[in-house]
């Protein structure tokens, strides 16, 4: 019943934790039963994580908040993928869903998340993340997929030294201890441009915001995960500190081999660091393209509007404009395309039918808009 059974480290799904509910969507195809023995490194461009038709909703007093709606996206091995969109577009929910850290009132109604085994020895070949039991999940989190959360101060236990926090994580995963652990941690500190000796013995409050963020990144990388999710990694940091974090992340990617997902409302972070960009609106990915296409040749009216709404230091005042209206109510969504109330191109079809995310000129550029062919021209984008 579950392809993960062939992984000896996993107990049968009958011992699944009650929450979060991760039942398989009715009619969803069974996961490919890849034998556990094939753990050869996957080809570059192959997905490390596949999200397939995933929907996540939160229960609220007024009804269900449809935070993520039928998102299908592959995160490729070694790539940096940015999820951009306004607050409420579902990007953080999607990130939390991947590591299954959603709050109790969330339900994953539909879809599946498949982690395509680590290339290292002993790693599972294909994990159905939504069906992992407590123990499997504990392994998946941090060893395969780590997350750096938004508020860097709150992520630490204030009464433990950095060294103790590292030891905690290492112990929980049966990783190095003692001097070996210290050596490994200090090596990571050097990678993220921290003074190893000073930081190793420090309490969180003794570190600045930027330093804490770098310690968190180092901690996330401790077990060499294949996938690192960063939720707003530079928000609330000063510009020069932001620059430093970005440089650290860029350098890490050239040195270590892992995929990154950035969640950010800050378009400049995506422009700076991402290989590909997924633009989200009302819980759906509305455009998916490489970073240059997203910024220079976007085809979805929302992406076009969003790029125009963010001035750069060199933009002329007259080339900036905002998107009319406000983001939709996620409980009472508009009919058809969820962007239609704010879209200058909307017509009857848009009000009636929601457009699917479809390849445009190439398979790598996908847009969910009935009028993607003419949108740029009609909106007067350069």
């Amino acid at each position: 019943m579950n392809p993960n059974l062939d992984n000896p480290t996993l107990t049968p799904p009958s011992s699944l934790p009650a929450k979060p509910v991760a039942s398989e969507a009715p009619g969803a195809p069974a996961a490919p039963a890849t034998p556990a023995v094939t753990i050869a490194p996957a080809a570059p461009g192959a997905p490390v994580l596949s999200i397939d038709g995933l929907s996540i909703a939160y229960q609220a007093k007024r009804g269900w908040v449809q935070a993520v709606r039928e998102v299908t996206i592959d995160i490729r091995r070694g790539e940096a993928l940015a999820l951009i969109g306004e607050s409420g577009s579902g990007k953080t929910t999607l990130g939390l869903g991947i590591v299954r850290l959603l709050p109790g009132n969330a339900r994953m109604n539909q879809g599946r998340i498949t982690y395509h085994g680590a290339a290292r020895s002993g790693g599972p070949a294909a994990l159905n993340v939504l069906e992992l039991n407590a123990r499997g999940l504990r392994q998946f989190r941090w060893q395969e997929c780590a997350m750096v959360f938004q508020a860097a101060l709150n992520a630490f236990n204030p009464v433990l030294r950095v060294s103790e926090q590292f030891a905690d994580t290492a112990r929980a995963h049966g990783y190095l201890q003692g001097r070996e652990l210290a050596e490994r941690a200090k090596e990571l500190f050097r990678l993220v441009r921290l003074e190893p000796e000073r930081v190793w013995n420090a309490y969180p409050h003794e570190l600045s915001g930027g330093m804490r963020q770098r310690v968190l990144i180092a901690l996330a990388l401790l077990l060499e995960p294949q996938l690192l999710i960063l939720d707003e990694p530079t928000t609330a940091l000063d510009i020069l500190t932001q620059r430093n974090i970005m440089d650290v992340l860029k350098e890490l990617r050239t040195r270590l081999d892992f995929a990154m997902v950035f969640i950010s409302h800050d378009l400049s972070l995506a422009a700076e660091l991402a290989d590909r960009v997924a633009t989200m609106y009302a819980g759906k990915v509305v455009e998916l393209a490489d970073v240059y296409t997203t910024f220079k040749n976007p085809h979805h009216p929302y992406t076009i509007g969003l790029i125009k709404a963010v001035p750069t230091l060199t933009t002329h005042k007259d080339h900036v404009s905002s998107i009319p209206g406000s983001p939709p109510d996620l409980i009472n969504m508009p009919t058809g395309c969820k962007f239609h109330p704010r879209c200058p191109l909307a017509d009857d079809r848009c009000r009636r039918e929601e457009p699917p995310l479809k390849p445009t000129t190439g398979a790598d550029h996908q847009v969910a808009c009935w009028y993607w062919k003419s949108a740029r021209q009609m909106l007067g984008a350069q």
Partner: protein, 333 residues
């Protein structure tokens, strides 16, 4: 300077942190703002920009120096003048979720100052004025908003209500402290455009406090930008000039470090290497120029000894840097 709407004369503000320990959040800042002028204050957190804004609106008293409103020191106004100042200078807060009373409808929030200060004498006049003000900030149809509570509005709409509320008392000057930072990116520009239109229509002067230099340039296109660092004003210049030809090494480093929403630009920027990444603590400020431990062009014996003053240049900029000042003098010689 004659005719300034607001004038800051060497204002300093220190805070008592613990026994015998004070920090100077703002140090010797001077600034003139004319009627109808837009000035942006930018800088990293802790640079004193918000404290400066709070001293201008009278929420904090300077420890030293003076704030003048139409030429009069706000610490020594008589009752009538004080009322005029209190109405003339309004603040729009950063957080639209915290700055509106959640148990008041939008109408209640807007009507209270109108009635309190006698701008409207009857319920129907109040209603008419509230609708007019809501329309001014593009909350249309205004009648739909009157009976709503803040929680029924989006962040952007709430911030528009905050602006409309500030306008009830016909101010001549608005201090907007990070007024769009909590609003979604897609609607920030339209909120700023509303403020710009009000400035045109009503001759409002605006002090806009932000950490986003690209937004500051957009908003202060015809105005000025002042850059603060550790409580001091280190450069102030016409907005586009400041962004395109920054003079102070800190401003240069800041502009070079800013990531931009354009992959071509942002990936090919030349970054300026600072000597140190760490922002000094306000508790233990470096001697001389406070930027010297990080400055790429500092000179030993000069920058670590004397604090540079903000010196005015002919192109309209003012910079507080010993080295830049000397370079300019040599160019002119």
């Amino acid at each position: 300077m004659a005719g300034s709407l607001i004038e800051l004369k060497n204002i300093t503000r220190s805070f008592h942190i613990k026994r015998n320990t004070y920090i100077q959040a703002v140090n010797n800042v001077s600034l003139h703002i004319q009627e109808g002028e837009i000035v942006c204050l930018v800088g990293e957190s802790g640079c004193g920009k918000t404290t400066t804004g709070r001293m201008i609106v009278g929420l904090l008293a300077p420890s030293a120096g003076q704030v003048l409103y139409r030429g009069r020191d706000i610490a020594h106004l008589d009752e009538r003048e004080k009322r005029e100042y209190r109405l003339g200078v309004q603040l729009v807060h950063q957080d639209p979720y915290a700055s509106l009373n959640p148990s008041f409808t939008i109408y209640d929030t807007m009507a209270a100052p109108l009635k309190r200060h006698g701008y409207t004498r009857s319920e129907s006049a109040t209603r008419g004025r509230v609708i007019e003000l809501l329309e001014m900030v593009d909350l249309t149809p205004a009648a739909d908003f009157l009976d709503k509570y803040p929680h029924q509005l989006s962040g952007g709409q709430r911030q528009r209500v905050s602006v409309a509320r500030a306008l009830t008392v016909n101010p001549s000057f608005i201090v907007a402290d990070e007024a769009v930072s909590m609003v979604d990116v897609s609607i920030r520009i339209s909120l700023l455009n509303t403020l710009l239109r009000l400035k045109e229509k009503m001759g409002l002067a605006v002090l806009f406090i932000t950490h986003d230099l690209a937004l500051a340039k957009y908003f202060a296109w015809e105005g000025r930008i002042g850059v603060m660092y550790l409580g001091r004003m280190i450069e102030i210049a016409p907005a586009r000039q400041l962004v395109e030809q920054p003079r102070h090494p800190y401003t240069q480093a800041l502009l070079a470090a800013i990531p931009e929403a354009d992959p071509d630009i942002t990936r090919h920027k030349r970054h300026i290497q600072l000597r140190s990444m760490d922002l000094p603590s306000l508790l233990n400020l470096p001697r001389g120029c406070t930027f010297h431990p990080r400055c790429p062009i500092w000179e030993a014996g000069l920058c670590d000894r004397e604090e540079p003053e903000l010196s005015q240049f002919r192109d309209g900029s003012a910079v507080a840097c010993h080295v830049i000042r000397r370079q300019r003098a040599e160019e002119l010689a």
